[in-house]
Amino acid sequence: MKGLIGKKIGMTQVFNDEGNLVPVTVIDVNTCQVMGKRTPEKDQYSAVTLGFGEVREKVLTQPVRGFFKKNNAAPRRHLKEFRVSPEEAAGFNVGDAVKADMFAKGQLVDITGITKGRGFSGVMRRWSFKGSQTKTHGTHEYQRHPGAIGQRKTPGRTYPNKKMPGHYGVEQVTTQNLSVVAVDVEKGLVLVKGAVPGHNDAIVYVRPSIKVAMREQHKAARG
């Protein structure tokens, strides 16, 4: 299985096995359930659709209600497809709860989320520009400016993709290789070391690390 849908609860610190305090993000994956499946015969690819978060049926549109009815599953607020091999998909039936024990302590995971919105931001926040290096010697109203944005007559234009002020945040970001510090199956919690994209209560996708998987693939290919 290739992942879970979760809710970012917030950050705290816990003691690890060595007795050192490590920063962790708590992710709630309590209501993850298999809602449907994609099969190569019907859809040309294989995937498992997971649902997360409870929702009243009343607030759903008829087509969405129909999807849940067809699969005979309780309605869920968030749906997400995870691509898996057909063999792996065989192990999952519609209606099955997917638990936090999919992940083990020490495993590396990738976490995808939507980052916090920062509105229209200047270059210092958006691109980590350094800003003006002096506040005195006649400098005024220039402390957070971007400086020069090009050359002279040649080329006579600003290059495309030049880092400038603009809208920042509210974009999908994946943080790779976060290690799982603890798993609480009973409460449906996963604790990962470090920060995770998004605000508290944001929906995040937790997947096994792709880099670890690739490394293993290369190893297998080399024999």
Binding site: I9, G10, T12, G19, V26
Partner: protein
């Protein structure tokens, strides 16, 4: 609900056997030190000059003089890495944070000991042994 879940996580990391002591007390912290494969216990003895609150994040600072140099060490109160905290004497102080000790040397830097509690502590430790 958010707070509940975080608290649930944090509650697992609380030590149940936390010794009660106050700032001004002299304590001996039996800190476990890992040297390669082996683990041994190293004692750090001094005066508690600060206690910080905060669930399992609570810490306390112990100050001692080592070969004429002041040494301060911050210990997490709920750290699994100390064996025990021994309270040697109870100090008679008028502050919650004893940072003024940093500026004092020799005899002046001593903390007055509460007399009645000293006897109590002695009785307690003899019982424990």
């Amino acid at each position: 609900m958010r707070r509940d879940l975080i608290q649930h996580v944090e509650s697992k990391y609380l030590r149940q056997d936390v010794t009660s002591f106050r700032t001004g007390d002299s304590v001996r912290v039996h800190w476990k030190v890992k040297e390669g494969e082996k683990e041994r216990v190293q004692a750090f003895e001094g005066v508690v000059i600060r206690k910080k609150k905060g669930q399992h994040r609570a810490t306390f600072t112990v100050r001692k003089m080592s070969f004429g140099v002041g040494v301060e060490r911050i210990f997490p109160l709920h750290s699994p890495r100390y064996e025990k905290i021994e309270v040697l004497t109870h100090g008679d102080v008028n502050r919650n944070r004893l940072f003024y000790l940093r500026g004092l040397k020799g005899k002046a830097s001593r903390v007055a000991v509460q007399e009645d509690t000293e006897a109590k502590a002695a009785a307690k430790s003899s019982k424990g042994a």
